[in-house]
Amino acid sequence: MTTSTTAAPSSTPAVPAEVVTHTPVQDVALPGGAGTLALVTLENGQDHTRPTTFGPRGIAELAATVARLRERAEAGEIQAVAITGKPFVFAVGADLSGIPYVVERRQATEFASAGHAAFAAIMDLPVPTFAFVNGAAMGGGVELALACDHRSISAGVAAFALPETFLGLLPGWGGCYLLPNLIGPANALKVIVENPLSQNRMLTAKEVAALGIADVLLEPADFLEDSLRWAGGVVSGTTSGQRPEVARDEAVWDSACDSARKIVLAKSAGRATGALRAVELVRAARTATREEAFTAEDEALGDLTMSDELRAGLYAFDLVQKRAKRPAGAPDPSLARPVTKVGIVGAGLMASQLALLFARRLGVPVVLTDLDEARVAKGVDSVHAEIQGLLTKGRLSPDKASFLTRLVTGSTSKDGFADADFVIEAAFEEMSVKRQVFAEVEAVVSAECVLASNTSSLSITEMASALQHPERVVGLHFFNPVAVMPLVEVIPGEHTDDSALATAFATGRALGKTTIRVKDSASFVVNRLLGRFMGEFSRMVDEGTPVTTADRAVSGLAPMPPFVLLGVVGPTIALHNSETLNRAFGDRFHVSPSLRRLVEAGKRGYYLMDDGRPVPDPEVLAMAERPENPVELTVGQARERILEVLAEEVGLLLSEGVVATPMDIDLAMITGAGFQFWNGGLCPLLDREGASERVVGRRFLPPGVASVPAG
């Protein structure tokens, strides 16, 4: 566990030191003789790379500052209060780094209610209050702004969100109460629930103003001066502080909450408890008093903080935010060689996707090769068409599109690779083909050129064995669709040297991908685990468990039901993957006869789309196995079995040293297979439901790392 970025609280209970947000105050003369405004700055003394957050000490300082402002307001010394942030940051909410160390519910509710008390004190100030949202505002930062009477926002603000439900929490410093009462329940729920559950979407400043969250949108160049001018107008009454009334009709309010609830259930199979509770708090916000609402938020935060789902969510967030940036086992980045030209063997769908990614991200010439002119032309044309599409959508400027178009060329000859530093093959998934391709490439390129393979299952060592320079060969396994999936598995072969490996990691990073080091072994990590998952799912169905039962058993585990996923991946590839795994590891990887028949029949999947809804294809149903002695499992039995085989496979991956730690498995499943934050990817789920202890005899992660530690 020494490589863990998340310390285990049971062994090292030291809570990380709080980076305290201070609240210095300066008096400002409001323009137009409107009086004196006390301007509060949220400042943690660090630059924008360490955004301002609120921990217990910061909240205490804020509360003390507000108490002092209250005295001054009552004494008539100040006529208004405004809060703004340090450059580029307003505030990004509660400091969550202490949550793994919370062992008692009381600790969570106390912190929650301390924040509530400070924000309520701002709301209760006897003078008008303003938030000047100058920069990034998230979570508690947004709620602090909501606690003020009026808000301005800089057009330069790129990140404004209530992302709590994305992590498994909810906006618990007034957000679930104040926002719906400001902009109505439907829009509030978009911000509180829908956006976080849609890849954690942020609002632009323009949207914040359009939604009515901010009263005025001002240009960044003199945002603070303009905000003060505007505040002066509001205080003196020359500028209206009025905003439209929120419709409070019960039926309308409830129906907004009902449809948000449906969205949450659809997106999370009911496992996003934070989001579900947020919806109910918004529902109650129509009639609740502030005290009732804030207390309800405190209680919800207490419950959620003490839930394993939240701890797993924070663990997953930490993996994606921190571990993904420092891949475990990567060599010294300074060993990486520059990549100034890229060759791609193959001009099929995968190759074209890679070509566009390399051209866009690296800005270097990319040469595609394939066996005949027609395939080359088709590959290059498809990349050029993609670029044209981006131009049409305004995502690229004409100059940039022209640049990228000229970067991507194709040829039937590999001569164009002569001055490439990096050649990646995306040829047919067959060892003899790959070896031949690399031999041909080696005949053209320099001795230092890195040869990468996008193989999903084959041995890198074997692929490199006949080459003059096997030390330059490395696996670089991308996931489909390449532009969307963040993961790249980096696989060194037996002879791969550190420089080639460092180049592979650096290239992966330059392409904007999360890289994970994986040992050269059949199907690496993600496809092996997905293969085991899909195989066992198919085995249960083939043995007699109805698909609907099996689907319920695995709900909330993968981003979609397995047979839907089958259609996305493609039955041919899924079958190929299961056969490869079966060859490598034997019968624990099931090759489904039904799937084979489905592929032979040329079917594209298990389902047909009927009016936008997937319904099982009757022809496919007819191909299903008819076991002599059907075994029909219950949902509970099926879930237990699936989790246990996954626990077994994770145990094997770790004992075989395919990856260094469980954290790498989780990071891989989150970024490569879309596994869920609230399960921490996979290992925390297996620990939580006891599968790891039953099968492997131990937890994968110590208690507290991705779960609530014992008190």
């Binding site: 210095p24 323009p31 160049a221 003199d222 003060l228 001018r229």
Partner: protein, 403 residues
């Protein structure tokens, strides 16, 4: 190709409140470029009648053109102020007369007909960029005695001026300084200065954000006794003190200039009309005398004499150089026509920015004095120069007629 010259008018000018340089100053952690950007933004805000794309030049002066005063400041300040990419810009350095030179440069471009509307200004953040930062004087200056070493230290050149004009005593200088402080205080009290100050949000990591709305350097209660007790840092038992000289300051200015034709077309107000200007070099050891020949040149070019000038805005780098100018032209030390709102001794002198402050104030004096037809702005310049710009009052009955 025959071509007609265009008349050039000063439309409007603004400045930031000036700050005291150094760690305790209000702009200690505020960027220099941001100061001048606030001025440009204010000009654009005040003149919605001016389409931004009509601004055809941005000339910004700074003496020390490094860091946040570098990188072709005029161009970047334009972009950062929201002017379109088509508006060009450049940087200027003529030491203390930077902004004045920015004005005469773009005015000449307008006069020639190359452009019609321009922004000129200056900035000096002497806290972030102390005078002489990063300089590398050519060793020939000393080896060949091109100039006396004292020429590079402005306070010493002021002491040298006392040697040349022994009748200008320290007491006279101190008395002049007290008047400057009192006049500024009176102008503030009457609310004359504030309208042309741009409020600036001041960044400070410990103190938080603040808003600068008034000058920081003035010491309105200054007395002769206090000034008499100050040290003379440039010469033992000398004459020049922190009290009878401008301080080390942070601040920025900007103004809008246009051809008379464009001003009429766009409906831009006319604050002053440019009559003539002159820059003249003098011995660098006595740079403070520079405004005298510069003014004589500008007057000569305009066919005017000092008697035609009803208002004077003189930069007060040092009391001694202002008095030397006044003596030369036979004007009393406390003449009401000179610096009616006090001068740099009170407001401060952020080197390259000061020229436009003089012009902005002269335009306001013109409004108050329609009886005055001509006024001048003049200043001494380091390394031995002087600059003078003559202006005509558009509120005068004879404005636009042959003089």
């Amino acid at each position: 190709m025959p071509r007609a010259l265009q008349d050039v008018v000063f439309v409007d000018g603004v400045r930031t409140p000036f700050g005291r340089a150094g760690e305790k100053g209000m702009y200690a952690q505020t960027r220099a470029d941001d100061l001048v950007i606030k001025c440009i933004r204010e000009l654009l805000r005040r003149h919605p009648e001016l389409p931004k794309e009509r601004v055809e030049e941005v000339a910004i002066a700074a003496t020390t053109q490094i860091g946040d005063q570098g990188l072709t400041l005029g161009r970047l300040a334009g972009l950062l102020s929201g002017l379109p990419a088509t508006t060009p810009g450049y940087s200027i350095d003529r030491m203390c007369a930077g902004a004045m030179t920015a004005v005469t440069n773009v005015a000449s471009s307008i006069g020639f007909g190359a452009i019609d509307v321009a922004i000129a200004g200056g900035v000096e953040h002497m806290g972030r960029h102390p005078m002489g930062e990063g300089i590398d004087p050519n060793p020939r200056i000393v080896a060949e005695r091109i100039v006396d070493e004292s020429a590079l230290v402005m306070g010493k050149t002021a002491e040298n001026l006392h040697d040349r004009f022994p009748h200008i005593t320290k007491d006279r200088c101190d008395a002049y300084a007290v008047t400057s402080q009192h006049r500024l205080a009176a102008a503030y009290a009457a609310g004359k200065v504030q309208p042309d100050l741009v409020p600036v949000a001041t960044r400070h990591v410990e103190r938080g954000w603040g808003l600068a709305t008034v000058d920081e350097p003035p010491r309105p209660g200054t007395t002769l006794e206090e000034l008499g007790a100050l040290k003379t840092p440039f010469r033992p038992h000398g004459n020049v003190t922190a009290g009878n000289a401008a301080g080390l300051n942070d601040g920025a200015t900007a103004c809008l200039l246009a051809s008379q034709t464009a001003a009429t077309e766009l409906g831009l107000p006319v604050g002053m009309r440019l009559v003539s200007y002159g820059f003249v070099g003098v011995e660098p050891e006595v740079m403070g005398i520079g405004p005298v020949p510069a003014t004589e040149k500008a007057l000569r070019q305009a066919g005017l004499t000092i008697d035609d000038i009803g208002l004077l805005e003189l930069n007060e780098a040092f009391a001694v150089q202002v008095i030397a100018f006044l003596d030369h032209f036979g004007i009393a030390d406390d003449d009401e026509r000179v610096n009616p709102w006090g001068g740099a001794i009170a407001t401060g002198h952020p080197l390259a920015s000061s020229g436009v402050r003089l012009m902005t104030q002269l335009a306001r004096h013109f409004e108050e004095h329609p009886d005055v037809r001509y006024g001048l702005t003049a200043m001494c310049i380091g390394i031995g120069m002087g600059g003078c710009v003559l202006w005509e009052n558009p509120h005068h009955a004879d404005y636009g007629k042959e003089s």
